[in-house]
Subunit: 171 residues, 8 copies
């Protein structure tokens, strides 16, 4: 059985530092599962070479999952996915004018051949990107599966606490 | 290094047998990567127990990835994902009236905590679901990574052939 | 002719306590019609067993209508409806990015076999969920029909008052 | 305990006879549950008096549920609902240009005060309208509850048959 | 040639007094064209009789144009139009969740037979409703045509002033 | 009281002869009301001078209403409206890719100052454009009001016939 | 004054040979303006190197405009644009499920820094891509401006012919 | 080889001075590339003659590119484009109710024959309009190509700086 140790397993890439506010949710999920990650700003459009090289070298650098956040004509996840067989998880960043529908469609509607595992728009999507990365890695690293189960137990407990609180509201 | 042998690794679940036409694309991708799978009809709404038990027993049965196709208020992927930490890949099936926008939003807009790795609407999405499953499994089974690279080489070759064909059109 | 007495007839379920702000409108409608209700937090995704058991035990517990509020990939109403023949009324909670269009489509586009009686997005929908529950119950409990008629008379009176006020604006 | 006998309990109203193709699904559901119904063509716009009088006289005529199908600026369900406290179930008929999104929004986005229990666009919605009517009536008529349970058992059985069929496809 | 004198020619109807903020724009346009109007709150759903009687008596009361503002499932304009041959101009009021797309579609997608002259969503639409009423009335009352021409001259002048201002910005 | 005689009162303009199939519905409505009209092909983009001169000369030529049909970036109605105070009724022609949502928004979302009386997308909208023109003209020509009332009576009669037919279906 | 001679000035790139049906319209426009072009199949996702090298070498090869057609998550135009300062014109290819809204948003919503000159969805857009390329090139090559003016004269003439034809329809 | 000197090459036109906030981004891009421009307020609807004359005289006045910003039923770019063969770049201004989807569709969905080079909604689109103008002009004026390359180098550098900053966040 494999151990991840503290090797760097997940690369989080975002098109702009303004995406950090949303993408930080992904880091919290990864930390909750004890997974080591790095963060990079690379734009599919403004720094295409940087984005390309990041994806091309992912396998060699030992990255096992890439999480990409981008908004508007959100090409970053697809561009990274086209350069590597490491699974790429996409987070559509909300856009000013269309609320992120553009980001979502640009990311999820990939042509046959190059998949991007697309999450919900915005913070819930970023949170889930970290968890999906953990679920993928848990295939190989059983200790992550344990962390995921604890995470889910905690979620169930939180629902229970909210349920108790809402029942008091009514009294 | 792990070998998958011919163990059953991927479960494809669909809400109705009418989804088979779309979901068959996923089976072609899996076969191209030498991955063994099973197919099941289970509806989140019409047979909720069956769907739940499928997801709950996934780990015990050795399934490492679940692919779920559903249309309209497409709850199947989310319902399966809520019952297991095995990664669930969702394929929005095109709907008669809204072209699959409803299927897509019902699938991708999952709340923080339970991710579904959502693919494009319809056939390209089903094809990519198979490939994304292969990419996830390739983290653990290196022979799948090789298959994926061959698959991509072939795709590149196909583009080249189409390019040659289109250049002849012009003469 | 039946009397409801003060039996608990309506269960209001919401995916998160943050939905309470919207769902409180449903409680006001129920109170206006003299109907006893309870409130529960249960998530289709984060606490699926809790949601399932709630629906499964609804008939035995004497619940005659369930109102469910959820946002984004709003599966809660459908998941509850799949587990009981008690009518389920759905309230799409507005979502941050898409204004609730995702919540609406995830709730209303149910496949043939399992209906969800879907209301408008947000507060007007929650208010109407309470009234629709009252209309359903009025089939059996005539005193609720009387309350509904008084409610409508009051609404008509409110329109009249607003009409008078607007006419003064113009003088 | 009440018996419905063969009293007329459900009125199906549609804006045009061209909606019959979709609305017939509602009649099949009602027949499966042993519920007596009538069908009427009345347009909120082309014959407003007829629509109004239908709703106004519903209680006196013993109708306990109204099902209304309409497309485009689909006002019929709301117009009926504004004239009676009998619960109104709405079926958005698919429109030629916008696939029924206009029908859906015109029907579901009712203002606080007058609810319409909205179903999915088109045939699945019409089928579910009949079932939702049956679920409402089952509060009062226990024999309908039994029919509904048989209906759901049959649905589960159908899923099972499709599952067996799809498994043979793979051999 | 006809003179309007100070007869009441235009009725502005709105579903709620909260629509006044938007609909006031219509009154400004009418006043600019010297047209006398009245304002009424009447809801297609909460006070259907009031709405119906308003439309039915419009011709007898000498109204020559009706302007109706409503939001969400915006049935008011269509309901009025179904009861009178006086032309009805509709203003879709912006809705909280969907920005008024629901209001627009509910108003404009009228079935063949009963037209509503639909304007833009919100304030520009309300302003234009007053101007369209004036354009209709100008067919009969030539003095309104003169006012409209002055109005347009003033608009052109305003553009000219803004153009001059913007040119100074650059210096 | 005015008589229209057989003066030409309505100009129907369309961007392309391919729009004739839809716009013919407008001619049927006008003919039913005994209104004389002409048809013109003029494109806001491909023949802007022709479109402009048409609108500029409308008053001088005695036209009292203009009906304009256009699709996609449907500027024709707005361009005509900007050149004349004759009321312009717009018919959004369905577009190949977006079903006419683009045509509708391009036509209805006019800025404050220049209204276009927008009808439904496609044939029902064209039919209603003819009727709305008749309603506008009926302010001045009482004989048109009579025709409109006959038209509505006939519609009501048609609903009655369809209602009878549907009742026979059920026997 | 520059002459283009028969140098190759425009490169048409498409993601798949299935896009040829739409993109052929661009070639007709270019031929009408006497502009030499080449056609290439290169996919942003399936053959990213080929796409990149095409764009990188565009200036060196003397290309002055690139036209790119792609559908779904249509990244091709943006990916090319990120690699060259040659202007890139994008044609959104209609998609099966969403009619090309996804293609349009993926193409037009480019982030600040890297523009794509986006045309209409489908054939009209492809036709206009050729004309926009000609308009750009006409800045430098006056003989193209002459061709464009002839093209517009012909369009105006075509409108005139259609107008005559439609007038005969009415007789 | 041509020099632009300080001739006026680009005309920026907007429908209202309220669009200046967005359109200023275009001026910054042009200034960064050393291109001289002018700004004009002209409305397709409120001052159609002014808009028409601006476009008609563009070639004579030496303008080589026009940038047009407009919102809602955004006809300005199309109206200008129909009057000149100078390339017109369109910037959809965000609208209050629909976030600019109306502006975008009204601008981009031009019929075959008259192209508008459409940019993203709002500020990023305005910024890119200036850059696209520069890219077009760089075909003729090589010194602009140099400026564009410097601009891109700077963008790449900015990404690098943001990347460094984000890496410090993590330490």
């Amino acid at each position: 059985m494999k151990k991840q140790g503290n090797r760097l397993l997940v690369g989080i890439v975002m098109g702009s530092d303004s995406d950090l506010e949303v993408m930080r949710e992904a880091t919290l999920s990864l930390e909750a599962c004890g997974i080591t990650y790095e963060m990079t700003v690379a734009s599919a459009h403004r720094s295409p070479e940087k984005a390309r090289k990041y994806a091309e070298s992912a396998v060699a650098r030992g990255l096992e999952v890439i999480i990409a956040g981008a908004g508007g004509a959100a090409h970053l996840a697809g561009v990274l996915a086209s350069q590597t067989v490491v699974p790429v998880i996409g987070v559509p960043i909300p856009s000013t004018s269309l609320g992120g529908l553009d980001s979502l469609l640009s990311m999820v509607q990939m042509p046959g051949g190059i998949p991007v595992a697309t999450m919900a728009i915005g913070r819930p999507g970023a949170k889930n990107a970290g968890l999906m990365a953990a679920q993928m890695l848990s295939l190989k690293y059983p200790e992550i599966r344990d962390k995921l189960r604890q995470y889910r137990d905690k979620m169930r407990g939180d629902v229970e606490k909210k349920d108790e609180a809402i029942k008091k509201v009514r009294k």
